[in-house]
Amino acid sequence: MLNYVTSYLNSNVTPGQAGNVFWAFVYIMVVFAGISLAVVAMNWLERKALAHMQVRLGPMRVGPHGLLQPIADAIKLLLKEDIIPDRADKAVFWAAPFMVVMAAFTTYIVVPFGPTHAITDMNIGILFMLGVSSLGVLGIVMAGWASNSNYPLMGALRSSAQMISYEVAMGMAVVSAVVMTSLNDKGVGTLSMIGIVQAQQQQGIWFAFKFFPLGFVALGIFAIAMVAETNRAPFDLPEAESELTAGFHTEYSGFRWSLFMLGEYAAMIAVSSVAVTLWLGGWLRPFPNALSGSGWDFVFSLFPGFTFLILAGFAFLGVIRMPKHPYFKAETLGLAGFAGALGLIGLILFIPPVRDRIEDIYWFIAKVAVFMYLYIWYRATFPRYRFDQLMKVGWKVLLPTAIGVLIFTAVLGVTIK
């Protein structure tokens, strides 16, 4: 057993690559639990951040500052009656949410949280990712069709059309990033997610800044397409609340409905991870060129600890600002405990061996978090596109731009080398 642990800690390939079934299994468990937890946290954060943008407070009742709200929601959803409409196609109706969740979670097999922190490293990683993540639309179409109702059907039709159109532009943008990986001595590129990050490391530049502004435009296209891909505002037509009541999941309730939400948020994190991997250097720390050297390495390695300490500081601020009334005693203590836990994690992250091992994961998650925040920001800012306008943006703006970027990247790659 101990051998297993040490053998993993010393290896420099991913568990899947090493053929280590035990560690691969552990990783799958950890990633599954971690993503589920991230979805829960994202749920709370989205409601809070959105609320503060909209001059309101968001959840405040369950736990201090509504921290336990997602748990309360989960319990409520689990306890709700599970309704399958009488006229629905029961088997398909039953299977659809699982399809969505499965597609969203399977993509994490290739997401590299660090050079060795991935379930496996496939040599067709990005292809696998795109393929599996677009399976999610199948679940949505199944849900819309099986509900045997007009609104879900229209939502499903919109969803499938939207996903297919944006997949094209998305694929073109991805290819331009893949082309950039081949700009080495051998002239050989890679589709492996870890390989792509390593190529950015070798070339000493994140692909977002390569051939400026080409890489940046490609990232922009991907960032727009991925919002459409995950059916989020301003491209949330399939579940446009004001038009189609709830779109494809109108007939769903309780646990099945929450599975759709789980799938949606997991997919959001998944596509954000792809964007981070392809253009923003994955697990690499920022400014490796300008601020290089062991001194800067040390400074950057302190970031994870400080982040948690700052979060703990905010939580403590909340404790201080809590009303001094016996009614709030439990909440104040709870928040103090939460702050203490955050602070403790922060302190643990300063311990050198932990620090070194956690740094990659920290930078990866921090970059993904930026994208997640953008998702919330979009939702607060933009109105919703109409269906024909959505198609116009996809086919007439994003796709030509993506093809142009791809051609220029290829030409520049050949000429500059």
Binding site: L50, V55, A233, P234, T381, P383, R384, R386, F387
Partner: protein, 385 residues
């Protein structure tokens, strides 16, 4: 549900059936009465070809309370609070229209001070109504945030109402012959403070929407209606003005003391949703102008004219209309000389404007139906009465 809807459609003239791609069938969708974007309990039956709207049919009456019939069994004074419940978003305007109509019938003039208070409150209510419209309209089009901004600012107006008469929504602020309540201490200060507070807020709404690409794409050219069609259908209010007709009863047939104020009537040219949005925003600013003029000039004096305790108008009939936030709000009252009206007929702007829905959305997409319902600014309490 589908069978029910077809029953309704069977006697409708919804035009020739279009040749559709791949011979797909037309889809009949029942939107409402429980639907997040039908502003209450409007039911619209949509005939769709995919996303394209081939025709619509409005089914109303889910909020019918028989207000006009109730009037026949109440005295003139007793009926006054009922009118607040029609367009509950602009209750003050409803009250003003009713009180003025009965005053006209009685041949009574409200004292000047009462008129000033009435104008201030009515214009405040116009802003509140437009704010609520803007928030919900933006929410229908998918922009969540303006709703909360407008509600935050509308709250200040409601606070003034509450301080003035104790109620926030259905205010029952006016009485036949003037106002019941004298203004509270600091009324003028509150109103001035509100004007200073809300002016930059309107800029804030504009910042979020006016130049927002998606907003412009979603509203420009959507729900077009020509001035001719507007007049033919009797559509009034901002919808009519956005089509280029400069018709506002405050100017055309001044009531209360609107002729004393300096303000402009904004008009649009294109008659689309975007123009209606701009017209309403300018209207809010113009209302602020009226309010600041009124609050400066508000005279001293009685707030109530001399009206008999028992209101018994002479035999006759009267039609009086005012410019409510949604359009021309008219009251037709027939008096038989008793204490109760023989008949009251209300001309509700929402009901008349709603008739333009079918014309405006034919050939458009489902999402446009929502945008058009929003832009017509209907309140179902007023449509159904």
């Amino acid at each position: 549900m589908t069978a029910d809807a077809t029953k309704y459609l069977s006697h409708l003239e919804l035009g020739e059936r279009d040749e559709t791609f791949l011979d797909s069938n037309e889809l009949i969708i029942n939107m409402g009465p429980q639907h997040p974007a039908t502003h209450g309990v409007l039911r619209v039956i949509l005939k769709l070809d995919g996303e394209k709207v081939l025709g619509t049919e409005c089914v109303i009456g889910y909020l019918h309370r028989g207000v006009e019939k109730i009037a026949e069994h109440r005295t003139y004074t007793m009926f006054n609070p009922y009118v607040d419940r029609m367009d509950y978003v602009a209750a003050v305007s409803n009250g003003l229209g009713y009180c003025e109509a009965v005053e006209k019938l009685l041949n009574v003039q409200a004292p000047p001070r009462a008129n000033y208070v009435r104008v201030i409150l009515t214009e405040l209510n116009r802003i509140a109504s437009h704010q609520l419209w803007l928030g919900t309209h933006a929410l229908d089009i998918g922009a969540m945030t303006p709703l909360f901004y407008t509600f935050r600012d509308r709250e200040e107006i409601l606070k003034i109402f509450e301080k003035y008469c104790g109620a926030r929504l259905t205010t029952h602020a006016f009485r036949i012959g003037g106002c019941l309540y004298e203004t509270y201490d600091g009324f003028e200060r509150d109103v001035k403070k509100f004007v200073d507070f809300v002016t930059p807020k309107i800029d804030e709404y504009e910042e979020l929407l006016t130049t927002n690409r998606i907003w412009v794409e979603r509203t420009k050219g959507v729900g077009y209606i020509s001035a001719k069609d507007c007049i033919a259908l009797g559509v009034t209010g901002p919808v009519l003005r956005a089509s280029g007709v400069k018709w506002d009863i405050r100017k055309a047939q001044p009531y209360a003391n609107y002729s004393e104020f300096d303000f402009e009537i904004p008009t649009g040219q294109n008659g689309d949703t975007y123009d209606r949005y701009l017209v309403r925003l300018v209207e809010m600013r113009q209302s602020l102008r009226i309010i600041s003029q009124a609050v400066e000039r508000i005279p001293e004096g009685p707030i109530m004219a001399k009206v008999p305790k028992v209101i018994k108008p002479p035999v006759g009939e009267i039609y009086h209309s005012i410019e409510a936030p949604k359009g021309e709000l008219g009251y037709f009252i027939v008096s038989d000389g008793s204490t109760q009206p023989y008949r009251i007929r209300v001309r509700p702007p929402s009901f008349v404007n709603l008739q333009a829905l079918d014309l405006m959305v034919r050939g458009a997409l489902v999402a446009d139906v929502i945008a058009v319902i929003g832009t017509l600014d209907i309140v179902l309490g007023e449509v159904d009465r």
